[in-house]
């Protein structure tokens, strides 16, 4: 996973001495964190049994005709 400073160079100014670039950087940083929070929250959702069971059935060859 990327860290919070990761981002394409084209849309992240690296010159934080320029206050305008700095604000832009913090906006992009906020969006980056929100994207990661959104994704991580979904990754942590409990996996439904039907998906686990599906793999078990596949393994048992029950669906090998698929």
């Amino acid at each position: 996973m990327s860290n919070r400073n990761a981002g394409p160079p084209a849309d992240r100014g690296s010159n934080h001495d320029d206050p305008r670039t700095d604000v832009n950087g913090r906006i992009q940083d906020t969006i980056g964190r929100a994207l990661q929070a959104h994704y991580q929250a979904l990754v942590l959702e409990p996996i439904p049994d039907r998906l686990i069971d599906l793999l078990a059935e596949l393994e048992a060859g029950a669906l090998s005709d698929e």
Binding site: Y39, E45, D65
Partner: protein, 195 residues
């Protein structure tokens, strides 16, 4: 996946233990990616189920040692674009994404709720959304995302850039006394991004 002649009559002989373990380990990421595409965990689970079935049936065409997640994402994405997109487009809200009003850990200036963020994310064009998820949320390189989407890396870069600008606009982050922060702000020709 693209080589039908490599497909065995029954997948089982080519399914190795590590392949099966790999599938299991990727389920959370497949669900998160699918839910980000279609906006619903319920639909996401249908997509993941379809992806697992296809992956199992085509296990013989997966090259061991290559990137299993990218391979699975490609299958999932193709399934979504083939059959599921029309359902996804009918989802107007963040059905099933269970986003209570959880504040995103941001900085002092910009506060937002996860639910608000998800609404904005789902309002983006699909191609910008998937690029942002792969690059911005998962940390894939532009090249990896480009392989999954079957486009040039520069296209991914441009989608990420436009998606970020659009999100900033939708979330009201761009309006704070920054006239330059319009649709085109994080573009490389912008004075803000020109370093």
């Amino acid at each position: 996946m693209s080589n039908p002649s490599a497909r065995p009559d029954t997948a089982a002989p080519s399914v190795t233990n590590s392949f099966r373990t790999g599938l299991l380990a990727e389920i959370p990421h497949l669900r998160a990616f699918a839910a980000s595409l279609c906006g619903s965990l319920t639909l996401a689970d249908d997509l993941v189920q379809e992806t697992l079935l296809k992956a199992w049936a085509n296990a013989g065409s997966f090259m061991a040692g290559t990137n299993l997640r990218a391979w699975l994402f490609t299958i999932l994405r193709n399934s979504y674009y083939t059959h599921h997109r029309r359902y996804g487009r009918e989802i107007a809200d963040t059905d099933g994404l269970h986003a209570a009003q959880v504040a995103v850990q941001a900085n002092q200036e910009f506060h937002m709720d996860l639910l608000d963020f998800r609404r904005a994310l789902l309002a983006l064009p699909l191609e910008q959304r998937e690029a942002l998820i792969m690059v911005g949320a998962m940390g894939l390189s532009h090249e990896e995302a480009a392989l999954i989407c079957d486009v040039a890396a520069g296209t991914i870069k441009s989608r990420v850039s436009r998606g970020r600008a659009r999100l900033a606009g939708l979330l009201g982050l761009a309006s704070c006394d920054l006239p330059e922060m319009g649709e085109t702000a994080p573009h490389r020709t912008s004075p803000l991004a020109a370093r």
